[in-house]
């Protein structure tokens, strides 16, 4: 029983997520202790400067675009915000 709890605590401490803001979003990367994208949404929504970018940016986890916040994160995962694009 004790072992189980320890293991839980360990995994919790280790869940460090890197959040990157791409292209024109002028913001340094963050290192956050979060377990899923819902937690990330709550944190970023408190940052007034990001509010417009949150509305128009796509989200990638480990360089794969995601279509829902129901996405668990594990230690070392990278989340990227991609604002509106215009190649060519």
């Amino acid at each position: 029983m004790k072992k189980f709890v320890l293991s839980q605590e360990l995994s919790k401490e280790e869940t460090l997520i890197r959040v990157e803001f791409l292209g024109p979003i002028q913001k340094e990367p963050l290192e956050l202790e979060i377990k899923n994208l819902n937690e990330l949404a709550t944190i970023l929504q408190n940052d007034k400067e990001l509010s417009e970018w949150l509305e128009n940016s796509a989200v990638a986890v480990n360089d794969a675009l995601v279509s829902s916040l129901d996405c668990e994160l594990k230690d070392g995962d990278k989340v990227s915000l991609l604002p509106p694009v215009c190649g060519g």
């Binding site: 791409l22 990330l40 509305e55 989200v59 995601v66 991609l82 604002p83």
Partner: protein, 148 residues
């Protein structure tokens, strides 16, 4: 088949290289699309940021779609500054048949505009200004802005 260059593209050289690469591949149709910086709104040029990991996987998925139709796609894009009347983008389809090539180049270029992780800035009075009004939110954008 995806080539990124610092600054503007040497269009004649790239079109020639690609043509020669496929000279004996037995493709009947070769359709390049060349994008060139237009003079408008007093800009001096454009500048581009590219996020390569997602560009690479986006391009690989298109290459698979092309392969399923017996076709091949090539693409070149500039990073950084590209001045007026210089070119920043070439996409090309090679295919045995013309209909496949004509439809593919259209679909590819449109999806490129809507999805490829590249950001465009106007160069104006020496400054780099994000071209938000000409940019497209990637499909599914806004997830993190939804309040519970």
């Amino acid at each position: 088949m995806l080539y990124l260059y610092d600054g503007s593209l040497n269009v004649p050289e790239i079109l020639k290289e690609w043509y020669e690469q496929e000279a004996t591949s037995n493709y009947g149709a070769y359709i390049p699309f060349v994008g060139t910086v237009r003079s408008e709104d007093g800009i001096e040029g454009l500048s581009f940021d590219i996020y390569e990991p997602i560009l690479n996987s986006w391009f690989a998925a298109w290459q698979e779609r092309a392969k399923a139709k017996g076709a091949v796609i090539k693409m070149a894009h500039s990073k950084g500054d590209v001045m007026l009347h210089e070119s920043s983008y070439i996409a090309a389809v090679f295919s045995p048949k013309r209909r496949v090539a004509l439809e593919f180049i259209d679909e590819f270029v449109e999806d490129f505009k809507a999805s490829a992780p590249i950001w465009k800035y106007d160069l104006k009075n020496g400054k780099r200004v994000y071209a938000l009004d000409r940019s497209t939110a990637i499909s599914g954008s806004g997830l993190l802005g939804v309040r519970k």
